[in-house]
Assembly symmetry: C3
């Protein structure tokens, strides 16, 4: 925070990212492995939510996210967030491109551990967008998008978490990424959904949500994400040494508490909205919205606060899904509502409820508004929301607009009608009715 | 055990639950994260076992189990098992309702870690019942059941594991919950199956098991449960410090050994019963039965004992499934046989085979009958079985009977015929033949 | 390496396998739990790749692999690799059959931890073969094969990793098993595919790969394997104490780097081969091939080397799949190409690129050819490839030839036509078109 800026040859200063106690490495590395399992969750959730005719295509896009997103994170992503060159500044870092410490570097273990941990975050952020672009984005255009999407994530991640990031210096708090991961992913999802336009025939029968292609897989995806989230939030203490383990355990409890609040709220919401019936996607996205909401301050809350934050996160997700549809923004999995709106709520909630987790310096000693910390923290968190969502929206639009000059981002009509599984991957489904007839309606 | 009862203001006494070495926290928290993945396993197993027309409904019930079961565990469950108020006694504990330690509490980390670990157990216990109630339990009634089901689990968990529990004081041993988790869950499952009655048309063609809706998902669920069980049993050393790591490793080995015995037994059973063919559900439930069987004494056995315990556990599961069907008790996933009968076997097996795991005080220095420890341990374990199964059966019946006064627990006929996926969640399956025609047979 | 051979009564010598620092046990045990999740991945991958009419059968074969393969690993597998009897020699070990240390054994914790870790490797190795035998291997013959398959794996594992193994003594390096696990599994898969012959009608329409029965499940299997692989490779530092954690973190990073290279290569390969379309199985097997490739030397490489190794591993997998088909070798999931050819590449890559991971003694201080280490290491690695593939091929053929004398290893024609799900497990699929019509074509 107020520490002197790191100099390349300054031997005594170790950036927080590499200030890893060997006792902490087990926690950091194991957490990153568990966070990677969230990719399985995103894949199953998204492929379960889309029409059957596109379920394989969206899985392949998730594979591409990891492969190309990971490759670019190595090439420039880590550098833009955490690079240690003297050119690094408050807005973007440089240095450590093609991250590859020498065996003689005493920090090599720390760099590898930090890289794998940050990589697990980065692939999560880039995968969030794939759902919003489902069923109508050209596969090759998506590959190009996936390749450069890393820059959209890693620059604001540097603002928030980098040694010199301007939001970090102002005191913004985003422990496990409600802002840097989810709000960026969600606003990028919103921009993508707008740029692509709705699926053919999407709103022929009003804004009612379309049937999920495979609801069991979608709920399975929720489950996998849920348990992975525990590692995501708990792992963000970045170790267990000293007092950290108290807060790691607290993060796990509050993550679950928030999801209980979110699950209860979305159950009630769905029961009331549908006269006693339950819409699967409301429950899934309600719980995910609550998890996004608690992420920024996962170990800064008491239990009832986490519960309340989850309730509000779920309600926001459930309300904004149909709202976006009313605006004609077709986001097949609801990523904009869950990660975008939920992300804003998560970042703001820190400014409202956060306790100072003494002796940890997470909040630089500050507290939230209701904890008697005054308006400063809430102000900084609000500023972070504005900066992150503006960046996510604008940079995604510029990227997609540019790609569209070279490869049309929207699928050709016949591909969208028949489904990308058949046209892109030679997959014939036994029952392709779901989705095809709807799309064909637009031809009439 | 023989230690003085804890007094509220007694500063020097720390309950075993919070006596956590910081070195142990990594193990406890990581184990709890892995135990939560078992929810994915239960969900896939159950949704794979039921008719396709109900596969989404049972997934949603699994979500509800976690959300409402978790919420009530926070409200009163943890309190009833481990509360530290002076009102706590041998039968029920009080205190620590709405578990939420202050940041000033020096035990806060231990309380959070203990809570997340116990929560992962509690959600497992409450989920076991959902399978037995599948395909015919009204969704709203199930939500209410799920909300209060926590009390059915947490009171006897306090008998077994609480600082003052009467079974604990008598010396009963149940390391990872063959009794407190599985026997309670299984007897509750049996009571629920009895109270609900068989599915429409279930026994029209005799007691032959019905086809699984999605056997691949069911086997996948078995796999996920299998690996989660390693953390369940191994994590129950509650740390790795001192000699604990020897026994954590032993627990993992014995868990696998038991499953090898169980798998081999159920393979042979199925091959013999079916003239050389293999029934998927026999293998799944045989292996699960063996895992339940080894759980209570997972690090108290030699390898051949664990193998034998697995063989018997599997055989019991395979034999009791058709037996319950013969009695007209329709348990769609076999939870009563696997967790109930398997749980009794697991608790008794400790009394027969247990070695004293010196220097750990797990058995208070006692050994099982065949280890020369005499009849005491077996006697106490038998008493535990009687208490736990009686409690599980009676309390579940009272709860369901009470709920039935307000919301009919049985689905309406048309819901059961068409399937709850369609009627409760608007899910249309392409091929709803499985299950509908069977149910309709009862109308003729 | 150059250390004196261990004597049974030599009290001061502890084999490396049991030389476990208590600080390392958390890492070893947790890694083994994560490695077991790879069984879920193999199951879903294989059942997703075969015809729908055999998807349950292949899942059951995966269950059998664990149950019978695990049982025999306990009976004789661990003994053949790591037994401590004086009869042990450079080619096979004896002792510690029915592994079961007494509670008085000071090494008990280490033996249990080593056993569970090695068991997780062994079950992986034996499962690799199941895919190559899919859709036409008699179930009972498969059970017998699975029972004895352990010997095929554990003897060469002893060459490579056992205290006295001749390849280990020569200085061969195979950190996480490109050779001992994957090359053995892959060459065994090749032998099995040859012995069984192609599926009925497989090549009626040329060598084009058959449609996957459930591509979403197949990709899900890839995901689960991918994250499990992190624990596989990272866990192979066998702890985190001292400098090990640097290399554990490095192994994780290089595993991901290799998969990025592999994913990019297979994407490009598929796009070029198919005029801009993507074949799911190419991507899956390309990524798996890259993971196999990096495994032997997972923490011996710089990032660009891991990337390159992944590119080559993926290309080999993609090229050898159709090559084997051209030779009439029908390997339904491509295990021979991925694990066999990929395994050879992985073992050789160490000889080319390896850095000495000082202060670890992994390479006995040697380096690869391009690191200025001369030809020695590459020579030894080449010898290892020859020995391992010869053993895998010959021993598998002898085993299958012998089994065939007692139980015909090939399914009966009607079973193969109708699918083993129906004939062996009474599973009726709604849409059995996939696969049946192809097989029937051979009757015309």
């Amino acid at each position: 925070m107020g520490a002197p800026l790191p100099q390349k040859n300054e031997s005594q200063h170790t950036p927080w990212l590499y200030d890893i106690d060997p006792d902490d490495t087990n926690w950091i590395i194991t957490s990153s492995f568990m966070i990677f399992t969230m990719q399985t969750g995103f894949g199953m959730l998204e492929s379960g939510c889309v029409s059957i005719k596109n379920e394989v295509n969206i899985m392949m896009k998730n594979v591409v996210d990891i492969v190309l997103g990971g490759l670019t994170y190595w090439i420039f992503g880590f550098a833009f967030s955490f690079g240690r060159s003297p050119l690094s500044n408050s807005f973007i870092s440089f240095g450590d491109f093609f991250t590859d410490p020498s065996l003689k570097d005493p920090l090599k273990g720390a760099i590898y551990a930090a890289f794998i941990f940050q990589l697990s975050f980065a692939t999560t952020a880039t995968t969030i967008v794939s759902g919003a672009m489902a069923e109508r984005c050209n596969f090759k255009a998506y590959c190009i998008f996936s390749f450069f999407n890393t820059a959209i994530y890693c620059i604001p991640a540097g603002w928030m978490w980098g040694e010199q990031g301007f939001l970090k210096k102002l005191g913004a708090v985003d422990i496990a990424g409600s802002g840097a991961v989810h709000l960026i992913g969600g606003s990028s999802a919103l921009a993508s959904a707008v740029m692509l336009g709705p699926r053919l025939g999407r709103y022929d029968n009003g804004i009612k949500s379309l049937p999920l292609g495979n609801p069991v897989n979608a709920v399975m995806g929720l489950f996998v994400l849920w348990w992975g989230w525990l590692a995501f939030n708990s792992g963000s203490t970045y170790g267990l040494s000293g007092e950290k383990w108290h807060y790691a355990a607290r993060a796990a409890v509050m993550t679950m508490m928030s999801s209980f609040g979110g699950g209860t709220t979305s159950l009630l919401y769905s029961l009331i909205k549908l006269n006693g019936k339950i819409d699967t996607i409301d429950i899934i996205n309600g719980i995910l919205g609550s998890l996004v909401g608690v992420t920024a301050g996962c170990f800064l809350y008491q239990a009832w606060e986490a519960l309340l934050i989850g309730c509000i996160g779920a309600l926001l997700a459930c309300l904004f899904m149909p709202l976006f549809d009313k605006l004609g923004i077709d986001d097949p999995v609801g990523a904009s509502a869950v990660h975008g709106v939920g992300g804003i709520w998560g970042v703001l909630a820190v400014g409202i409820f956060a306790q100072d987790p003494y002796p940890l310096r997470t909040t630089s000693g500050r507290s939230g508004l209701l904890r008697g910390g005054g308006w400063y923290l809430l102000g900084v968190q609000s500023l972070a929301c504005v900066c992150l969502s503006a960046w996510g929206l604008v940079s995604s639009m510029i990227l997609l607009w540019t790609i569209n000059k070279f490869v049309t981002i929207r699928m050709e009509v016949h591909v969208e009608l028949l489904g990308a599984d058949l046209t892109e991957h030679f997959v014939r489904h036994g029952n392709v009715n779901v989705g095809v007839s709807r799309a064909i309606s637009t031809l009439g």
